[in-house]
């Protein structure tokens, strides 16, 4: 099992808020603004951790459980996410099921803590989040399972390594699976065609509205957890890409970080050039990702030999 290093975990712990900064700066560039500092998420999180809290009288300890367990689940999930050529800290057959499970755990408790406030806005956000997530989960799993169809790999490490070789062997399948994973990345991280992280109207929010009532250290956890989640899915997308995999350690780290930077910039570009989809159209986007994963899988079963 444990064959990798903790490098990825440390990198994520230190650098993940930077990704949010990069996305914001990219969007600012497209909008012709100067934009917030790259390290804004660090300042936010640090400041929030030092602040006091406002708690609603309606809430129970479940309200605490959302951010706390959310961040704990994200950091434990980091343990088995590879980064480019760097293997994950822990790797075992089926670890990506545990990854999906931990993400589901974080989401479940976040949804509950939103419902705990009794606010109709947060209930609305929770309902939409639960709906989209329930469609995204099978897509995520079927994209990864497609990769294990031919390579026979069963841990996230091996799956990503196999996927990156696939680009040379079976380009269409590789592109299809990678596209599905990228849409999952956008959906899970509440990015643009699905959810607008910058919206200012509670009615249109999904992810942001669920944490309206959190404040102080709890909201600090939420901000930091968002960054770590972005890092997790970003690393998966990067590790699947053959471009950002290099074997030797110091160089490998740099290449992988460059990959994450590229993914963040790409996210910023997507957010700048696309409008948000109507809520009713989002399921079709996710279903489209599912179609792409399944077609990839069918190609991998040997149809496209």
């Amino acid at each position: 099992m444990a064959d990798g290093s903790m490098t990825n975990v440390f990198l994520a712990a230190v650098l993940s808020p930077l990704l949010l900064g990069v996305i914001n700066r990219t969007k600012a560039f497209f909008a012709g603004r100067k934009g917030v500092p790259l390290g804004q998420a660090y300042y936010d999180a640090a400041k929030l951790l030092r602040k006091g809290m406002v708690l609603s009288r309606t809430t129970t300890p479940v309200f605490w459980l959302g951010p706390v367990a959310g961040l704990a689940a994200m950091t434990s999930a980091l343990l088995f996410v590879p980064l480019g050529g760097l293997p994950a800290a822990v790797s075992f057959p089926g670890d990506w099921i545990l990854l999906a499970g931990l993400l589901a755990l974080a989401r479940f408790l976040t949804v509950l803590s939103a419902l705990d406030t009794g606010s109709s806005f947060e209930g609305m956000g929770a309902s939409r989040e639960a709906f989209f997530a329930s469609l995204t989960e099978p897509v995520f799993l079927s994209a990864l399972a497609a990769l294990s169809l031919k390579g026979g790999a069963s841990s996230l490490n091996d799956l990503c390594a196999f996927a990156s070789t696939l680009f040379a062997e079976n380009l269409p399948a590789a592109v299809l699976v990678a596209a599905a994973l990228f849409i999952v990345y956008l959906t899970e991280n509440a990015r643009l065609p699905v959810d607008d992280p910058n919206t200012h109207l509670e009615l249109t929010m999904i992810h942001e509205v669920m944490v309206l009532d959190h404040s102080g250290p709890l909201f600090g956890y939420v901000v930091y957890g968002t960054a770590v989640k972005l890092w997790i899915f970003g690393s998966i997308v990067v590790s699947v890409c053959p471009l950002f995999r290099a074997a030797s350690a110091p160089f490998g780290v740099l290449v992988a970080l460059a990959g994450l930077l590229a993914v963040a910039v790409l996210t910023g570009v997507v957010e700048s050039v696309m409008a948000r989809l109507r809520l009713l159209r989002v399921p079709l986007l996710i279903a489209g990702a599912g179609v792409s994963a399944v077609v990839g899988a069918i190609l991998l079963t040997g149809v496209g030999r």
């Binding site: 099992m1 030092r50 006091g52 809290m53 406002v54 708690l55 609603s56 009288r57 309606t58 129970t60 605490w64 706390v68 367990a69 704990a72 950091t75 434990s76 343990l79 075992f92 089926g94 670890d95 099921i97 545990l98 499970g101 931990l102 755990l105 479940f108 419902l115 705990d116 406030t117 009794g118 606010s119 806005f121 947060e122 209930g123 609305m124 929770a126 309902s127 939409r128 639960a130 709906f131 997530a133 329930s134 469609l135 995204t136 989960e137 099978p138 799993l141 079927s142 399972a145 169809l149 026979g152 069963s154 309206l212 009532d213 102080g216 250290p217 709890l218 956890y221 399944v294 040997g302």
Partner: protein, 656 residues
């Protein structure tokens, strides 16, 4: 074995005592449940011994019934199911003492005891006649328990529904055993002769078993009795029925499949298809329900589907001679049987506690109960998290095993790979939908503000109701934290159902427990993270200022609890997206006048299979059979003529 029989006898005696206890003074009345619990716990000793050590013990008495023999056998498979029959019966009985409180409960205890004993006999019986007799007693006893509150019309209706469905199933089983035992005078299981698995004959046998046991288990589309009977029954009975009674169907299926050492590939595929449809449709219908217990009943259908997925993979593995697939699939399916027994009972018991104190099961009328009932709410939360299959709880462990089984299937290539792929996708979808459904159920009932005012009177359940829930929830957590230990303990069972030699089996088991050890370590990392983060936030909260305020109301000055997102609104995106399947009905609200005053919206999601398949089918059947009423005219002479005619015809047929 003798200890076990003594324990069963003890339960039976307690049951009989219960039947007459209504005439006794109050304190004596508790003797029946006490005897039941003590005997059940006594019976657990030999069961655990067999389960953990793989020791097999038999018991046999001659029996005068044609084709019958009183032949019992306790092997790991029986012991595994018995563990839950006896364990859950004792917990449900403890709970029921407080739940039922006053009134004539003797009737209840009698059938409760009989149900426990008959379920035990079902798992032990090795003779078809004995099995069917136990099966029928089990059905009847549970029918009387379902209709315990028979002063309500819906309860009586549900009871008949259940009875009719069960008997249709039994008819198939009767045919199955008659076909299996054609060659032997005594219908003992070990005397049966089996046609080769790929023949048409074996296929017919499998189909009979699938339908016969499937009715009890609740496979779609045979599930329609579950959402009727579970809400009607008293909660401890619902817990017992959902926890173990429907598992008797799974037991029967596994037992019958075990007759073939190499089953047919097609059976595995059929089980996977059945599992997918039960799992996905079950959870979809659950999402659309308003009644908490009805929702839980549909989740039983979903979980039975997950179990079928595991079994299907296991059967595929056995028939393709892929031991890895067989062990992981079967293991996941059976472990899910155990896990479902635990978390579903906790949920039903919790739902019962809520319904008992608030007087309603309608989720749109509940809310904010966690502050009034922290114990019940906490246990319900553990059960809800476990059933959605998220770590670090037991539901995740069994789904993880099934997923891993599916990976082994993916490598097999060809159609098995396609089926394994659909298992992965289906389980993902089921997991996501179940999470949404239980976020809705827990959120609507326990979180937020009370919606209706009925909760002001809500009170936490007493100790006899709290402890069973607490124990079950604790077991859910423990199994989730130490899955490796559990699989190690179940290894005699897994070896039996996978049919492998010890030499083949042990390396597979080693990798299994090894993987689960890692999962368990990650779970502890997670828990440490939760503790650390919570501690930090609490420390900050103590040092810094914590202001208590109202929930953010977006500037609206007078928020009221009725403005909360309700359970129905939470489920609306789902019911809308899946409307093609669910057919949720929105009776149109008519607005009159320029300034309409009040209006209301009611949605209803009746079971599609009930509405579109069974109702028309049985309607036709009734029309056809009505012609037969001409034979039923009330004239005694003609009835005697029927008898004579039949007798003569039989004589001619047998001699001629």
């Amino acid at each position: 074995m003798e200890t076990l029989l003594a324990a069963l006898l003890g339960i039976l005696l307690s049951a009989v005592f219960g039947a007459i206890s209504d005439r006794l003074p109050g304190r004596w009345r508790r003797l029946a449940p006490a005897g039941l619990v003590v005997s059940s716990l006594l019976g657990l000793l030999p069961v655990l011994k067999t389960l953990l050590q793989g020791e097999i013990s038999a018991f046999r008495l001659p029996w005068g019934v044609p084709g019958g023999s009183f032949s019992l056998l306790l092997d790991p498979l029986s012991a595994f199911f018995l563990l839950f029959v006896l364990g859950l019966s004792s917990l449900a009985a403890t709970y029921a003492v407080e739940y039922l409180e006053a009134g004539r409960t003797g009737f209840f205890w009698f059938f409760f005891g009989v149900l426990t004993v008959s379920m035990s006999m079902v798992t032990l019986a090795r003779n078809a006649v004995l099995f069917l007799v136990a099966w029928e007693i089990m059905t009847l006893a549970s029918f009387f328990l379902v209709t315990f509150e028979d002063e309500h019309l819906p309860v009586r209706r549900a009871g008949w529904f259940y009875l009719a469905a069960s008997h249709v199933g039994t008819a198939f089983l009767l045919l199955l055993f008659v076909l299996l035992g054609r060659g032997t005078p005594v219908l003992d299981f070990d005397l049966f002769s089996f046609p080769a698995a790929e023949t048409l004959e074996a296929g017919v046998l499998f189909a009979l078993a699938l339908v016969g046991f499937g009715v009890k288990a609740g496979f779609v589309p045979l599930h329609i009795w579950l959402p009727e009977a579970h809400p009607a029954a008293p909660s401890p009975v619902s817990a017992l029925m959902s926890g173990v009674l429907i598992k008797m169907g799974i037991y029967g299926l596994v037992r019958v499949l075990g007759f073939w050492s190499v089953p047919s590939v097609a059976w595995g595929k059929i089980l996977i298809l059945v599992g997918l449809s039960s799992g996905i449709l079950g959870v979809l219908f659950a999402l659309a329900q308003h009644d908490l217990k009805r929702l839980l009943a549909y989740h039983s259908v979903e979980n039975i589907g997950i179990i079928a997925l595991g079994l299907g993979l296991g059967v595929l593995g056995k028939s393709l001679n892929q031991p890895l697939l067989a062990v992981w699939g079967m293991g996941g399916g059976l472990l899910h049987v155990a896990n479902h027994a635990m978390f579903k009972s906790v949920l039903f018991l919790g739902a019962g506690a809520v319904a008992r104190t608030t007087g309603t099961r309608d989720m749109d009328r509940l809310g904010g109960l966690l502050r009034k009932m922290p114990w019940t709410g906490g246990c319900f939360l553990v059960g809800a998290a476990a059933i959605t299959g998220i770590p670090p709880l037991n539901g995740f462990v069994s789904e993880f095993l099934i997923f891993c089984g599916a990976f082994h299937g993916l490598k097999a290539g060809g159609l098995p790979a396609l089926f394994s792929y659909s298992v992965v996708m289906g389980l993902g979808l089921i997991g996501g939908l179940a999470a949404a459904c239980f976020a809705k159920a827990f959120g609507a009932v326990f979180l937020g503000e009370p919606r209706n005012g009925a909760e002001h009177a809500a009170r936490e359940a007493g100790p006899l109701m709290r402890w069973p829930m607490g124990i079950l929830a604790a077991v859910c957590v423990l199994v989730g934290l130490f899955p490796g230990v559990v699989v190690e303990a179940l290894s005699p069972l897994l070896r039996q159902v996978s049919g492998l030699s010890p030499a083949d089996f042990s390396p597979i088991k080693e990798t299994m427990t090894g993987t689960l050890e890692v999962v368990s370590r990650i779970a502890f990392v997670f828990l440490a993270g939760v503790l650390g983060l919570w501690g930090f936030a609490a420390w900050r909260a103590r040092r810094g200022a914590v202001a208590k305020s109202v929930t953010w109301d977006c500037g609206f000055a007078a928020p009221s609890p009725r403005m909360q997102y309700s359970a129905s609104s939470f489920a609306q995106p789902f019911t809308d997206f899946f409307r093609g399947v669910l057919r949720t009905r929105f009776p149109p609200t008519v607005l009159r006048d320029l300034f309409p005053t009040e209006s209301a919206l009611h949605t209803k999601t009746p079971d599609v299979f009930h509405e579109e398949l069974y109702r028309p089918l049985f309607g036709r059947l009734k029309e056809t059979l009505l012609h037969g009423r001409r034979l039923q005219h009330g004239r005694l002479q003609l009835y005697v003529l029927y008898i004579v005619a039949t007798l003569v015809a039989l004589l001619v047929w047998s001699r001629g």
